[in-house]
Symmetry: C2
Subunit: 713 residues, 2 copies
């Protein structure tokens, strides 16, 4: 029975309250285990145990503390490393496991496959039947007197290696027998991960409880130690173990505590535009809409992209004065992105902000609460560095890595897809986050020059490596949809191709933003099932399609390009070289807008066609004739009656009657019916052949522009 079990005292040594220690204590606490933390605040002299021998200080501190258990032969004492250990069981479970397998033993160390720190000692190790042979000192347990004895056996310096200390005792057969020492070779209790991360996987019990499963020995270790370079794998397991994430119940530690009346802290918002990114205007617009008082925001903007200068200026013009304070680097500068980020950190610190949000220009946040929520996550979960998960729409590319390869680059974790797709929701300790990161004050302090930590790496990778190397956990939160990553991969080329409005070409890469900018706001209404599309003349539908902005920008592109046809019948652009009913026009293939416009029509026009001309299906739409026409009284004012080389055509009015021109309109001769076609962005959709002989009526004043597409020739 439970009452037969000895008391379990768990102790650790930690000079600093790191994210790792917090995780250890939280995991233990999840099982009602209270861990005595020794050495907090003490100066660490034990060396950097990641790269060299050391840790003797731990023995010294423990040896002082063990005094009181010298005779406590019914007390079970367990030592665990502080920064890289996670509990996944309560005391009873641990003790029962001990008595089940090691009832005769008085001291039990975890085992590992490497003979560390002195490889030459390997031959002296006793042969084990099965399992790992070598002692690891990150996890061990034993009765009070034996623990007392082993810690006092020899004198030890802070800089000495603690594992070598225990190893030498274990290898002394006489002492081993005397102390009745053993190794948990098959990880029945202790799992040291180094060298065996492939063997140890995450599993869930039927009730959804997470377990570590050692597939090599078919055991379910209760305490897991990310020794050496296996820390990253521990971080992964640690996202679940310690009752943190349950496959039935989801995240057990999530949930925003909304504290209404709390004072709003001063924060920093840092924006970095260091490459050509489309739709910066929209990104800035969203920043302006953030649900956080601007007078509580210290604004730092870094932009080295000429194409975005005007956007920044417009933004500052409109909102600049509202911010608490600001620093702006806009345009050609000697300061690089890396330096700017470091500088921003320092500038943020100097403003004494409680939180600093560093975001890149390609992070588009449609959710204005993003900063507020992140601050709340940071406080509630006690995490100092956290990023909202954002990804490229419809793609697996996001702003975090689930795992990291040995070479320091991206690796896919078992749970990456589940997190990206939202099948697993919560906040996740991951090796790399980027694009938009919140630091709390404490972490901000720690981040000095983090972006220059490794100048061979990109600034964000440098920062993350710095964090990983220094025990700062990086969290990604996928609890809520905040926005997405703008695709900018090939945007650089578009920008340099002499476009006035390169975003117009971005329908493939950034469809959501393209649609928001360029589709008529009334378009979506006409696609509602109960909405009946207007007919201006028999079988001529008239509906809102393109935004006014699109129309304006298209005209600017055309006039910028300027190579209008001469309106004659000879047209080298056509296969036959002959146009029977010529207009003064520019074809979309002349400005490289053909693929885009075809895709647009297939995506936005075809559904309207299918809704109106029912039963006709032709997917994808085809067209060789897509062009902008210019009518002027003194050039070509009108177009004589003709048919189009299409199954159906759409003619879009690009500018405004009364303001830009007088006259215009299309007359359908067979129906003796005229459509004014003067609402900017409205499309007229009509059968191209046979029934709809039509003429373009004269533009009597100014210039009229229309965009014409002959669909399915």
């Amino acid at each position: 029975t439970i009452t037969d079990l000895p008391e379990l005292v768990v102790v650790t040594v930690a000079t600093e309250n790191t994210d790792g220690l917090k995780r250890l204590l939280e995991s233990a606490k999840a099982f009602d285990i209270n861990i005595e933390v020794l050495g907090l605040g003490e100066k660490w002299n034990g060396g950097d145990t990641r790269i060299e021998q050391g840790g003797g200080q731990k023995i010294r501190i423990l040896s002082d503390w063990i005094e009181k258990y010298k005779d406590a032969s019914d007390t079970m004492i367990m030592f665990v490393d502080a920064y890289d250990v996670v509990f996944n069981a309560d005391s009873t479970t641990i003790l029962r496991k001990f008595f089940e397998h090691y009832s005769e033993k008085r001291l039990l160390f975890g085992a590992e496959p490497f003979c560390w720190p002195d490889q030459s000692l390997a031959p002296e190790y006793p042969i084990v039947e099965f399992g790992k042979r070598f002692l690891n000192s990150g996890l061990f347990m034993g009765y009070g007197p034996e623990m007392h004895k082993i810690l006092k056996l020899k004198s030890v310096e802070d800089k000495d290696d603690d594992q070598l200390y225990y190893t030498m005792i274990y290898l002394d057969e006489k002492l081993r027998k005397e102390l009745n020492m053993d190794l948990d070779s098959m990880s029945k209790i202790f799992q040291n991960l180094n060298g065996v991360i492939e063997d140890v996987e995450l599993q869930f019990k039927e009730d959804g409880t997470p377990e570590a499963y050692n597939a090599a020995y078919n055991t379910k270790p209760l305490i897991v130690h990310g020794n050496g370079p296996s820390k990253s794998h521990l971080n992964y397991l640690g996202n679940y173990l310690g009752n943190r994430w349950n496959s039935q119940l989801g995240c057990r530690t999530c949930g925003l505590e909304v504290k209404e009346s709390e004072e709003v802290p001063l924060i920093a918002l840092n924006l970095f535009i260091s490459k050509p990114i489309p739709f910066i205007e929209e990104v800035l617009q969203k920043i302006a809409e953030f649900d956080y008082p601007k007078e509580k925001i210290a604004l730092y903007i870094y932009n080295n992209q000429p194409f975005s200068i005007k956007n920044i200026q417009d933004f500052l013009q409109k909102h600049g004065k509202s911010y608490y304070t600001k620093r702006v680097i806009n345009g050609v500068t000697e300061i690089g992105d890396r330096e700017a980020r470091n500088e921003a950190i320092e500038w943020n610190k100097a403003r004494n902000v409680e939180f600093a949000f560093l975001m890149d220009g390609d992070a588009y946040f449609s959710e204005p609460k993003v900063i507020k929520d992140l601050i709340q996550y940071s406080k509630t979960y006690d995490v100092g560095i956290i990023a909202p998960m954002i990804g490229q729409p419809g793609k697996l590319f996001t702003n975090f890595w689930g795992a990291i390869a040995a070479n320091g680059y991206y690796a896919r974790s078992e749970d990456y897809m589940a997190i990206v797709k939202g099948n697993r929701v919560g906040y996740w300790n991951v090796p790399f986050i980027t694009s938009a990161v919140l630091f709390n004050k404490e972490k901000l302090e720690a981040m000095k020059d983090a972006y220059s930590y490794n100048k061979n790496l990109d600034p964000d990778m440098s920062m993350c490596k710095f964090a990983r190397d220094n025990g700062h956990f990086l969290y990604i939160d996928n609890e809520k949809y905040y926005g997405f990553l703008i695709v900018s991969d090939e945007y650089a080329e578009t920008v340099t191709e002499g476009k006035w409005h390169p975003e117009m070409w971005q329908i493939f890469e950034n469809r959501e933003l393209w649609e928001a900018r360029y589709i008529h706001p009334g378009y979506h209404k006409i696609m509602e099932p109960e909405h009946v599309v207007d007919q201006a003349c028999p079988d001529v539908y008239d509906f809102p399609l393109m935004s006014e902005r699109f129309c304006e920008e298209l005209i600017e592109e055309m006039e910028g390009f300027g190579r209008w046809s001469d309106g004659s019948n000879n047209d080298k652009r056509l296969a036959g070289g002959y146009e029977n009913v010529p207009t003064r026009d520019i074809h979309m293939n002349q400005v490289g807008f053909e693929r885009q416009w075809l895709y647009f029509m297939d995506t936005y026009v075809r559904p309207v066609q299918e809704k109106t001309f029912i039963g006709y299906y032709h997917q994808p739409v085809e067209s060789n004739m897509m062009f902008v026409v210019r009518y002027k009284p003194e050039e070509q004012p009108s177009l004589r009656p003709h048919h189009d080389a299409s199954t159906f055509s759409i003619d879009i009015a690009l500018n405004k009657k009364g303001r830009d021109y007088e006259g215009g309109g299309v007359r359908y001769i067979r129906y003796n019916c005229t459509v004014p076609a003067d609402e900017v962005g409205y499309a007229m959709m009509f059968p191209g052949r046979l029934t709809h002989l039509h003429e373009g009526l004269a533009t009597t004043k100014g210039t009229r522009y229309i965009m014409v597409s002959f669909i399915n020739p």
Copy 2:
């Protein structure tokens, strides 16, 4: 002055009153010249002057007659051959010409390029400076005493050659001088055509008067002699000269004298069907409609074509009893076409008919007056053999030849085109007529065995050669449009290809008859400019197109062919092998009706399309999908909603609702509009794509047939 001129006496010798003599006298009469005809009724002993020497009989008869002019030294006597001479001037003109060029002479003979009949005499001829050297005795003139002298100089037998007689005198230098003889070497008066037909052409003076023009000597001879083989050329010139045809005034001898109260003579009507000819049914129908009392017609029918037997039977069934008498050879027979024609001539003679009309099955007479008019022409113009000009519509092929080549076959005359096209109108003496010929009683008598005259020639060529060789003139009359020649050149193949109604395939060859038989009688009305074509549903036109007969015959062809598709999606007849919306059908290319149907649509449907779907031009129409659909409740009763692979389609109802089937009709889903489509031969014409989603409604009883064409895919 005129009073100074001597009297001109013109004399000829003719034992028979041939067509040639008639022409001579008519031509002379046109210039108020009266010709004394000697020897009429006398037996001709002068030999066949076409092939051997002879004609001495002429000298004997003249020598008797000249006695009274022995001392008439102020009388000018002119001798002309009877059968092959045409006058083109009056006495004054002739005499003036004589005095202008030959005032010193007393005897003037025509000249020719051949030394005939004794070639060996050529060296003895005196040299002439210019012109023809040799004497011709068909035309000559001289004063009474010299004419008397030359005719009496030597004794002559009937069989002796007259030309040799005169020649020997001329070659005797002493006699020549004594008689003061000369030759009209450059045809200032006399034109002998033999050997120089290329030099002598027809011309018209400014007032339209016809002239013979000798281009070699720049003379305009006044009397023309078709000596030897030049008779055919004389026939041609003779159609104009003698004031017969004036280029300003046209035919001077034409004009039907309509004698109202004349008794209707008994005539014979002979029909020969000796090759496969389409539309015999229509030919017989027209014969039945001839404006001539059937009780005054002895009917002879010869048909050796199996395909026409039924037509003849039907015709006789209906009209046979109305005729005066008849003889019918209908079907397989030992009697050939040649023998039948000879037999018909004899049968006609035995019936004692006044006129006999022999026509072939391919002579289609739309003008019922054809026989009446021909009889009238024959009487009025005193021509015994006459054919109404008919030709293949739109072609130059007709039922006559304008000229004949040396080998006896077709040659094109200078005036052939003008006659065929109706630019020269009248009745024309030509070397060959066929297809439909009227003989008067006299000629009928002469035609015994004419069709067997030369069995190496086709019967009609044999008959014409017989006529030419025997001085019977063959006339073609183009004064009025009587009908046309049915094209039957390749019909034999169509008939043997197992068609039920081979005429259906004859749209190219015999469009007029095809149209009359197969186009809906209401079609022409809808093509009238003011007529508005009905719309049964929006943009769905409904109009009469095919005759009921076409619809019935098409169904019979389809059911006869019988290879209906199985209605499945797999259709090997299609390029893709797949039909999305299959019907049970037979494609026009399966029955070889594709070219025909395309031509039909281009000719009859396209104009309706151009009238209704204005502004749409696509010529010629294209189509790969032309088929007859069969709907049956127990097979495939209906067709689900679909579009057609066409710019526009025509669906023609082929049979009758109520009688043949129940149900049917087409519903245009987008317009929620149904067309019953149940009027036989009516076409529904509608846009194939986009707007006119349609379904074929279920045939609930019987069988419904439609003909569907997808035009301009």
